[in-house]
Symmetry: C2
Subunit: 245 residues, 2 copies
DNA sequence: CGTGTTATTGACCAACATCAAACTTAGTGG
DNA sequence: CCACTAAGTTTGATGTTGGTCAATAACACG
């Protein structure tokens, strides 16, 4: 999957959303992709920038975030390999959030012009992009509910469920076990908690036998209970007919 | 604006986003719109439904919401006349949120098939819809920051700023004054607070001379300070060159 | 006028933040 | 391989914010 087709995973992901014509796939692979390696912590899209390119996460793990007035960061969403995290910039001139790599990663930058032209040429591709944006919005909705209405332990449980299901779907989870490259401080920025409270909530999840962690490697011990605690129903991820239980 | 062209406001709103060709506008107005009157409190789209039509808010005020496991409601966003709140349903089969009228309202329902056909026919229209969905996403991002990172008074101040600017842009605010048809309980469902705390926070905003309210009619007394308190910058609303100060 | 809904108040409490220190881990260079 | 460092995790003590419960007051509507 590596050097040859930088957009292979994007294409694969789009196809799980909507079948693509051969022509559309060929078009994707003929795009002029500038591949850039970034390091952990690099903000490869900055809040407020006005990029002329859109990016695709080729491999690695990234997060979209915004910074509140007090300087505190809020993570808006995760991005896994194959995601196109800023289709936004295609139509909105100003990036209203930054994107930061959480691991060393490779990013593909594609000129807006080419992408727009391709989208116009292949209607199925255009639909797939739209649908993918709608799924992202659906995840944002659930995030708002999670932060607005759930307690610390529910939020964390819910977050672990979401991450597990998405990593699993992305081929990055082994059984009930996965690596989540975020510090506890960063986890707090995801669910809107202080890092101290994240720590204590994690301990509670462990104490109750729901998860197990060493370092940044986490294992789900009791999926069914974790799901119930986190009030998690994977429907909002729109991952197709697969059901995770 | 009333009987003749149910989609007049939608067209107007789309045009503030992207100029539309005459053909596209004609196409819009030839759509087969089923207009329905709903009452305050009516949930005209239910969470989990699988509608075959998309809706447009012709007049009135509506909110999109989700319900958490505990039965508590979280409001995701406001919708004003001219909004198309569920373009989602065009591509995602299951509505992952409900929509409820906050005032008596008129809703236009348009068959998915017609809308999809029209979108395919007029590229500018398709772009306008996409852009409008991206703006909604941008608002969701700010909502997540608001709920995740700000204190009660900041959240409320921010919400009033957003509502004021949007109502103003929609022609529904008079000077610094507007009607917001939500109970304090509902305001709490917007910003993730209990209704008691909403009440106390409102009092604080009044005490500090930032706003003034009688009933559901609110007036902004000190826009500049309200904006600072709420950490509000209208950029994320993408309302075009207009600047609100 | 009643009657139901919404707003307001008070008392109390739980959840979560903050601060500061100790401990662990992983990484780095000698 | 070890010492050193920096980053992240864990702990305790304490304070604040905001939630809950329950009662009362103000409105709105028929």
């Amino acid at each position: 999957m590596s050097a040859g087709q930088p957009l292979a995973r994007l294409a694969a992901q789009l196809e799980t959303i909507t079948p693509l014509s051969e022509a559309a796939k060929r078009g994707l692979h003929q795009l002029n992709v500038r591949v850039v390696r970034v390091d952990e912590g690099d903000e490869f899209i900055r809040e407020g920038a006005q990029p002329q390119e859109s990016c695709v996460l080729i491999d690695g793990f990234a997060c979209r975030y915004k910074v509140a007035g007090g300087g505190q960061r809020q993570i808006l969403s995760f991005n896994l390999p194959g995601d196109a995290p800023d289709l936004h910039s295609l139509y909105l001139s100003r990036a209203d959030h930054g994107i930061v790599a959480m691991t060393p990663a490779r990013i593909g930058f594609i000129p807006h012009r080419e992408l727009l032209a391709l989208k116009r040429l292949h209607h199925d591709l255009s639909e797939a992009f739209w649908k993918s944006a709608l799924i992202q919005a659906s995840i944002l909705h659930e995030t708002i509910v999670n932060i607005g209405r759930r307690t610390a332990i529910q939020r964390m449980a819910h977050m672990f469920c979401e991450i597990y299901v998405r990593l699993q779907h992305n081929g990055q989870a082994d059984r009930r076990s996965f690596r989540l490259p975020l510090s506890q401080a960063a986890l707090g920025e995801v669910v809107g908690l202080s890092c101290v409270h994240v720590n204590r909530t994690l301990q509670q999840l462990r104490r109750e036998g729901l998860i197990e962690s060493k370092g940044r490697h986490h294992t789900i011990r009791d999926w069914d209970r974790l799901r119930r605690v986190g009030d998690f129903d994977a429907a909002y991820l729109h991952l197709g007919p697969a059901n995770f239980e």
